[in-house]
Amino acid sequence: MKGLHMQKFFTLLLRLDSKIDRMGETLKDKKVKFYPTLVGPIVFLLFALAAFLAMPSQVKIQAEGATTARTFPTLLLEIIVVGSVVLLATELFKIIRKKTIEVQEIEILTEIKAVVILALLGLYALLMPLIGFIASSLLFSVAMLYYFRIKKRSYYLIVVLSALVIGLIFRYLLGVRLP
């Protein structure tokens, strides 16, 4: 009975494997154009704008003086705004004069991989307080190796042992109360 379940599990894994492979093949050469020199300053401008809007409610000042709690953050946000405007203006000037601006081609597959790794990291962080540091680390390390399509069993053994050792070092040598 147990063997049947294991067989089913491995068949499922193999199916998942081939599905991921097929998806990878489809997305392999798909790219999206992206203008970092335009997007970057816009992102920072939006960040500065949001921080400026939040300032009155988030930074209370007690009395007006030569400097207040708002002085330094305001100065920094102004630097960000000026820098972003200069960058943006330079790029717009290039566009108006029909000069080439930096274009990056983003590989969709690479970005999806990054999102998957991020999801695994998030899952690891969520599981940590629920099932404990060592158990979640073991699950995470195995999931990461599977994600990297590692077939060698020795790699799994090394990583699992490392997870155990790290957990024990932090708990007993450094005295950290891990979840």
């Binding site: 002085t71 330094f72 946000l77 960000i80 972003s84 190796l145």
Partner: protein, 496 residues
């Protein structure tokens, strides 16, 4: 002299030597594996220094920092892939020697040159730092703000192609450092009623996200395997360097040590610039110019001496004024702060013995680096072949355990993840994260001195140009930025 003797006594303990050697071992391993960096190693193991004293933690971190410089050359020589960016200058000649079946000789030259450079730099630090510290004690609040600003000029050197982008990143880091309680008025800033943010973001947690976890996200692009070529050959040759070769290497190594020290003192320059400048100088002076790039012993000696000669020199502004010379040293500044040693002009006056202990320790760090390199290089040749796919989950587990251990809080683990995403986006948008690090490290002291100065002057900015020291600093800041930007413009013109 008293401080020197007391410093020596404080340093000369078993624990200093143990931690130093562990640090050296880790630095060699992380330096040798392409894809892993010295900064990553320092960040990952920073939580371990919480339980150590200031001297032990500094010995541990200096071990990583110095050995990382040499470790980078191992993979550059053996597999034509520099383990660290500053080993790039070593790569052409080192790998050429490997192809000629002389990899052990190349590794020996790199080790001896690195040790010489490191030693030269350590003695320079021991001699010059106390003199600089005496000068630093004469500074007032406005001058110290300008010192912080000088520290931030590192941004000019680490901004990549665009200085403006570097300034924006630096301002972002400084802004993040303002989150939490305002140290002067006690008002809360941008905490959004979250109790965990009262004391702001912990430096170590931000660093783990910015430099360690972000590397894991970047692995989505990089290949997981390291290609190997000639590892088997390392054991089979003697690796002996002839007297004639020593003679040829002596002058370039000595000049490179001086170049490395000078470049190391200037914030924002760093080991890569030192190794390339020295390599170029050695090539111009050599009688065997045609050998450069094809297995020149002088080339390897020049590049490796210079990049390790930077290590002690970057500590001069750090230990005397609290200015980090590069990213790795900025993290070490964090280690000083963790141990209650506030960086600034009074660091030497208040903690002179500790400072001397650290400086003396650096000499021993280099000595033990040589001994470890001599005995373990043949094993490190194997280390370069560890697949990144094994290391990635181990790094993540380290990161999460380290982030959690700072305050025993899951909130910090979330913060680390958030900073990893920020670093990933910065990278995509072409913004460097090193200026963010500098902003985070220098944020509190920069703001404090800036605001104190303005309070003293009743809001007038003229206070920053009133004393001769302040004017001198402004000139130095301007010159440093001009030199770095000028060099970058030259480089980009050359590459066009």
């Amino acid at each position: 002299m008293d401080l020197f003797i007391q410093g020596f006594q404080q340093f000369f303990t078993l624990s200093s030597f143990v931690y130093m050697n562990i640090g050296l071992l880790l630095g060699l391993v992380f330096g040798a594996i392409p894809g892993l960096t010295v900064i990553l190693c320092i960040v990952l193991f920073l939580p371990f220094t919480y339980t150590m004293g200031p001297i032990d933690s500094f010995m541990f971190l200096l071990g990583i920092y110095c050995a990382g410089g040499y470790g980078g050359s191992i993979s550059a020589i053996l597999i034509n892939t520099p383990g660290t960016p500053h080993a790039t200058a070593t790569m052409a000649d080192g790998y050429a020697l490997t192809k000629m079946g002389q990899s052990k000789k190349a590794l020996n030259i790199a080790l001896q040159a690195s040790t010489f450079g490191g030693m030269f730099s350590a003695f320079t630090l021991l001699f010059f730092a106390p003199q600089v510290a005496k000068f630093a004690q004469k500074m007032g609040t406005p001058e110290y703000f300008l010192v912080c600003l000088f520290g931030l000029t590192v941004i000019a050197g680490v901004s990549g192609k665009s200085l403006i982008k570097g300034i924006i990143s630096g301002a972002f880091g400084l802004f993040i450092a303002t989150i939490g309680l305002d140290p002067m008025t006690g008002s809360t800033r941008f905490i959004f009623k979250n109790i965990n943010l009262y004391s702001g973001f912990d430096l170590v947690i931000c660093l783990i996200g910015l430099f360690a976890l972000s590397e894991v996200l970047a692995k989505s692009k990089k290949s997981n395997q390291v290609t190997l070529s000639s590892l088997a050959e390392v054991k089979s040759e003697s690796g002996k360097i002839s007297k004639k070769e020593y003679k040829r290497m002596a002058l370039p190594a000595f000049l490179s040590a001086i170049i490395g020290v000078i470049i190391g003192i200037i914030p924002g320059t760093g080991a890569s610039m030192a190794s390339f400048v020295s390599y170029d100088r050695a090539r111009q002076m050599s009688k065997h110019k045609d050998e450069f790039g094809k297995g020149s012993v002088e080339g390897i000696a020049a590049a490796e001496t210079a990049n390790n000669a930077v290590t002690g020199a970057t500590l001069i502004p750090l230990l005397t004024m609290g200015i980090p010379g590069d990213g790795a040293v900025a993290i070490m500044l964090g280690a000083l702060m963790i141990n209650g040693l506030t960086p600034g002009p009074n660091l030497f006056a208040k903690h002179g013995v500790t400072m001397y202990a650290i400086m003396i320790g650096l000499i021993f760090v280099n000595l033990f680096m040589y001994l470890q390199g001599r005995t373990l290089t043949k094993y490190f040749a194997r280390v370069v072949s560890i697949p990144v796919s094994i290391l990635t989950p181990i790094i993540v587990i380290f990161c999460f355990a380290g982030a959690f251990s700072v305050n025993a809080s899951m909130f910090d683990v979330g913060v680390t993840l958030a900073f990893a995403i920020i670093a990933y986006l910065f990278n995509k948008l072409g913004f460097s994260t090193i200026p963010v690090l500098l902003g985070l490290v220098l944020g509190a002291i920069t703001e404090e001195n800036f605001r104190r100065s303005l309070i003293l002057s009743d809001g007038s900015w003229e206070i920053f140009v009133q004393s001769p020291i302040a004017i001198a600093f402004l000139v130095v800041i301007f010159l440093t930025v001009a030199i770095i930007v000028g060099n970058k413009m030259k480089e980009s013109r050359r590459s066009m």
